[in-house]
């Protein structure tokens, strides 16, 4: 492939998804400076591997590279943030006291969510482990399908579903706790 042609094809495939790429990186590392470095590094990798790109879903392709670049960066710079989560089903576990508390208050959750402000939501999502944060962002903000998310995060589709379930549950619990503390 000729270089200029390759470059213009590359730009056409990648540039429209730059916002999504930056948003994902920003949520992974939680600061502007590092997020920009990660997107730049990811784009360099993407360019390098562009000849292997088959012209299918370019957004998912780019986000996969951004996600991997972000994880490499986290491994190197903040290894503690990458605690491996166990993906066993937790449905059968005993009900968490916070959750019970929330249920006992005869469902204030819907109301609480309406009151939740932007800062508060941002905080609780940032406190989730990266493995949950990324599926939440890909599903709720990028509106990707389980299949696409499974591809990007390299996990089975069932795990996408259970991580979303656990991620959302944790968000609800954190919000309830926040409310309790006032």
């Amino acid at each position: 492939m000729q270089e200029t042609e390759k470059l213009s094809r590359f730009e056409e495939a990648i540039l429209p998804h730059l916002d999504a790429a930056h948003n994902l990186a920003r949520w992974l590392v939680r600061n502007d400076h590092d997020a920009e470095d990660i997107v730049q590094e990811a784009c360099m990798r993407a360019l390098k591997y562009f000849s292997a790109y088959r012209g299918e879903n370019s957004r998912a392709w780019l986000l996969t590279i951004v996600r991997n670049t972000g994880y490499d960066w986290l491994k190197q710079n903040r290894p503690k943030e990458l605690v491996t989560v166990s993906d066993e089903d937790q449905d059968s576990e005993t009900v968490d006291p916070v959750e019970r508390f929330a249920k006992e208050m005869s469902n204030p959750e819907t109301l609480l969510l309406q009151r939740a402000d932007e800062e508060m939501l941002k905080k609780v999502l940032e406190e989730l482990p990266a493995e949950f944060r990324e599926v939440m962002i890909l599903r709720e903000i990028e509106e990707m399908s389980y299949k696409e998310i499974a591809g990007i995060c390299n996990i089975p589709i069932g795990t996408v579903m259970s991580r979303l379930a656990r991620g959302r549950k944790q968000l609800q619990q954190c919000l309830a706790e926040w409310e309790k503390q006032g």
Binding site: L7, N23, V39, N107, E118, K122, L125, E140, M161, R168
Partner: protein, 256 residues
């Protein structure tokens, strides 16, 4: 489907919320939600959480300085390029062996014979519409007239086009108007109307059709974008977006 307390398994409720379950399961869950107060409250809470996330969570678009950095990075990469005229590959089989090119040529002839001329024409159009959409997002030239008021956008086209595009007000349905601009597709001046849905943008291109006959809606997906095309009342309509297909279809239904 249900656990020991006779409630829906949590995981499935999330699959249902995300529209990822098969029809049978979805129907089962729908039925259960109608009967079970606990589960339907759980479900409402999940919906509330989702809408809070979608409306209140900050979105971090790529800042201009990052785009600049990437731009210079790409230009650097291009420097390694030999200063050759950019050749457009009109005859992709030119580099192939004779046997392969004969096979390919006969395939091309066969497909030309079986397809009406419309089909390749449409492919070219899809490409044009798609790259207009992409260009409008890349080049920071999304709108010539910025207004969420259809009564401002429609008259703006007067005197700029030889037709008057229909500009609908869909804000109540969650598709606010962003603005409009002039674009050029299929050798026509066309109207591009821009609508938004959350952080997604929809470009709706419209121009007078060659034939009066209404054409049914056609859906296409290319490079992660959805394109929907139809003609109606003598006008061509092309809607393009990275929005999910269902919502783009909803947009089109409302527009028709």
């Amino acid at each position: 489907m249900t656990d020991i307390n006779n409630h829906i398994e949590q995981k499935l409720l999330h699959g249902y919320l995300d529209g990822e379950l098969d029809l049978d399961r979805s129907l089962d869950i729908e039925g259960h939600l109608r009967k079970c107060q606990d589960c339907s409250q759980d479900y409402r809470n999940l919906q509330a959480l989702r809408s809070a996330i979608r409306t209140k969570l900050p979105y971090y678009p790529a800042p201009a300085r990052l785009r600049k950095r990437l731009d210079s990075m790409l230009r650097q990469a291009a420097k390694g390029d030999k200063p050759q005229a950019r050749s457009i590959k009109l005859w992709p089989w030119m580099g192939m062996g004779v046997g392969a090119s004969l096979v390919l040529a006969s395939m091309v002839l066969w497909s030309l014979g079986t397809t009406l001329w419309r089909a390749p024409m449409e492919n070219v159009l899809v490409g044009e519409v798609l790259s207009s959409h992409v260009r409008s997002l890349m080049a920071n030239h999304l709108t010539d007239v910025i207004s969420s008021d259809s009564h401002t956008v429609k008259p703006w086209f007067n005197g700029r086009l030889d037709f008057s595009p229909t500009v609908k007000d869909l804000v109540a349905a969650g598709f606010p108007l962003v603005g409009g601009r002039l674009d050029y597709i299929d050798k026509h001046q066309v109207a591009a109307l821009v609508f938004s849905r959350r952080q997604h943008l929809i470009n709706l291109f419209t121009w007078p059709a060659n034939q009066e006959k209404n054409q049914r809606v056609q859906n296409l997906t290319q490079q992660g974008y959805h394109v929907i095309h139809w003609t109606q009342a003598g006008m061509e309509y092309w809607a393009v977006s990275d929005l999910n297909e269902q919502e783009l279809q909803e947009f089109v239904r409302l527009y028709q």
